[in-house]
Symmetry: C2
Subunit: 485 residues, 2 copies
């Protein structure tokens, strides 16, 4: 395919994508396919000779679309939102065209420098303390990671290296393995599984801190486990606080936890993967109070800030902590400007070496929506979630299971877990909307997340009427069959 054909096919693809997104509400949100559906539909091997674009293009509707879960459908209420917007799609086209691999400043100065400045823009939008910004000569700064999991892992590894060095400087007789065996990290029992995974990867212990009846970790709960562990010879070194937990969007109490971490010399990382985008609205910014005690902070514009996946924003107060954990410098990656204080080599800030020009997406989205446009998007979602909450509360068969703060509602039928599992099954089998569940303590709960950029009040109302009707049907047979326990 030459440039001339790309011009033609590229424009066809633009129209296909526009059509797909414009009419996505006409597609069934969750596919009908069974596992293994795709393999029989395509050849066993790559073709020897080139096929035409038309051949490939017609297979999109035939082979791909029947197996797609439509994350941008206004009937998609599962997981958390995946961001998507036209400005971000345009930026990604440009990113692909430039096709640079920005692992160092010299590998593409614009790629590195725009990222640093965009993370400053974004940091200012959520009113992050100055220390987290790169500014002209700050010690902190931001970076785009691929996912919150990587941000958590990177911060845990930085904390691990820092602590090992500290302990060794005070106790030179201890080996690294001795110290590693005593290190312990902490997170809420409501924290995302990626925190446990980060500890697993880093080869250190991790312990759950009990959350309270609001699914929130408070200072005394952390203090208790720290005291016990220190008494038994362990070395607490890392605490991951969550703002907006995955099960129910609860918020750990930073203002209590932060001072404890600072006093005990424990790295505090804040994972606000979903909730972080809301902090651009002044009325939600208070949820971030206490960030001033943290060493690192992360949220995902690719969840709720209209920047297509992947774009996970992470900030640290001291970039030297990150770089110190990783810096390895072979000659072929060195460059002339390396020692200048203005140069950032982002490969030292992340797990992979290579990186795409992802800051273009932020630049396009922040400029073409403006802060007010993005605030409107967040506020619309929160308004819709309260609308759904209100509908649930009006129906006395149901209960709300956790405070609705942002765009997630946890709810269930009053009754057994089996009953609620049956309700979810009937919802997801009908495939008119799509939800996923969670457990809150021992309760099986349905999560209703406001997801799509184009979701409106009518979709939420439809979803509720549908759920309500399925519940009515279910309760009739359930009572009839005497399943209720």
């Amino acid at each position: 395919m030459d440039a001339a054909e790309f011009r033609k096919r590229g424009k066809e693809m633009v129209d296909y994508v526009a059509d797909y997104l414009e009419k996505i509400d006409k597609r069934q949100v969750f596919p009908d396919v069974e596992p293994g559906y795709l393999r029989p539909l395509i050849p066993d091997c790559a073709p020897q000779d080139p096929e035409s674009f038309e051949d490939v293009f017609k297979d999109i509707e035939k082979i791909i679309m029947p197996g797609v879960t439509h994350w941008h459908s206004p009937y998609f209420f599962a997981y958390f939102p995946a961001a998507s917007s036209f400005p971000a799609l345009l930026a990604d086209m440009l990113c692909g065209g430039i096709g640079c691999v920005g692992f160092s400043w010299a590998a593409s100065p614009a790629c590195t420098e725009l990222e640093t400045v965009m993370l400053d823009w974004l940091g200012k939008m959520i009113n992050l303390p100055e220390e987290f910004l790169a500014g002209k000569d700050g010690q902190g700064g931001g970076v785009i990671q691929g996912s919150a999991s990587e941000a958590t892992l990177i911060s845990l590894l930085a904390a691990r290296t820092k602590t090992i060095r500290q302990v060794q400087s005070e106790n030179p007789e201890l080996t690294e393995a001795d110290i590693m065996g005593r290190l312990v990290a902490y997170a809420s029992d409501q924290a995302h599984s990626s925190v446990e995974r980060a500890a697993l990867i880093g080869g250190v212990k991790i312990k759950n801190v009990s959350s309270d009846d609001k699914f929130t970790v408070c200072g005394s709960a952390l203090k208790k486990v720290l005291d016990e562990d220190k008494a038994s010879g362990l070395i607490p070194f890392f605490f991951c606080a969550t703002l907006g937990t995955t099960p129910c969007c609860s918020f750990d109490r930073l203002l209590e936890l932060g001072p404890i971490c600072n006093k005990e010399n424990i790295w505090m990382h804040i994972d606000a993967a979903y909730a972080g985008s809301a902090f651009i609205c002044p009325e939600f910014r208070h949820l971030l109070n206490g960030v001033e005690f943290a060493d690192s902070f992360n949220f995902n514009p690719h969840k709720w800030l209209l920047v297509n996946f992947d774009c996970s924003a992470m900030w640290v107060k001291k970039r030297s902590d990150l770089i110190g954990a990783f810096k390895l410098e072979p000659l072929y990656l060195q460059h002339h400007h390396q020692e200048s204080g203005l140069v950032t080599d982002y490969r030292h800030w992340q797990i992979p070496l290579g990186r795409r020009f992802r800051s273009l997406k932020l630049w396009f989205v922040l400029r073409m929506y403006g802060v007010t446009g993005l605030q409107e998007h967040i506020r619309k979602h929160v308004r819709l979630s309260h609308q759904f909450e209100h509908l649930v509360l009006q129906d006395e068969r149901f209960e709300i299971c956790a405070e609705v703060v942002l765009g997630l509602i946890c709810f269930r039928l009053k009754g057994s877990n089996e009953l609620n599992k049956a309700l979810l099954k009937s919802i997801n089998e009908a495939k008119k909307i799509h939800l996923v569940p969670c457990y809150l303590r021992e309760k099986f709960v349905l999560r209703f997340a406001i997801c799509s950029r184009t979701v409106e009040s009518t979709h939420v109302k439809f979803a509720w009427q549908h759920i309500s009707q399925l519940a009515t049907d279910l309760l009739q047979t359930w009572e009839h069959n005497d399943h209720q326990q």
Copy 2:
């Protein structure tokens, strides 16, 4: 921006990208900017109110392009190639439009299933042993990682978990920390820095194995260090063999190393990040002989197989080894089909949770080029590298520093490192072409990598004449100033 405007702007962006790539040879390959150039060019904060697409668009040439290193210029001969092709760009547009996050089968069945089948296609193209393929009910299979660094890390972590479990089952009195402190990984002294980094992240020791005068690790070198380490109580558990090292594209001797690893119960991972793409040509496939002894294998179609970054292909013989190292399963990520043998949840195969629909790029590229089209691309690059080698060899002032096997030539002026540093400096300051150096043993060497999809014989000839002229100029002043030592 609504869909109607996206149709208009998307088409403009398609033309912009086509123009950029068509006329990229007219741009200076390496930018003139100094560190910190970008910040003064843009505002301090995101705008409150939306800006128009035109505003943003005109800033691409004004602010971004002056700071771009043009990786796809035919005058770019640095690092290794970054792949780019029009079919891959089209696929990425579709990937962005669908915008699913395929962490589990249910999160988007097509995303998972196409990936599995595409990795089978690709595995067959390089004639990987059957055990590495997923097939209909294989124990192995492939996955797309973001980078070779992640593939190395994942395999090292899988090996670590496997070994710890094994050792603990034989010595239940040993703690995980005891064992971790004795684990040791190995790689060539020519291996990429990401291998050392993987060990650093995994909290285990790593040792260099000495390469021979061809920059190759042979069996006896590995055997020697294994015997020493076992005698001193260490537990060897992981060896990363390299096919196509970054400094000079040398190849470790798999046929000697593999049997040793198998006998010693050491996980052998093969990193063929750059060279792997060449194995689709029968005349280069012999370089992969011995892969049958490996536990995991990785190469980067995003380097040399015309699939835009990121697309790093990794295969394992036993998927249970990867999954066993990581599997954590909260309820909100479980789904109905989970226990079926046909279902793959790729989140257990990688560091991040989220993942884009990257297999679309493979599907488009493999079909629209066909195997023969991709073979032609590889063969053209290898032909051009031998052309450059030939030009160097005809000039007795220069020497070739390592065997030219694929698309990389390591060369230097006969003389001191200082002389060669001066030559590289004059080349990169002239900015007509772009190269990076490496050290081979103590020698400072220039790396000339055939990179661009559109590079032709005329560009290579131009590059050589340019280098040759700069060398003439340099040698005159050098001799005049009596700098030569």
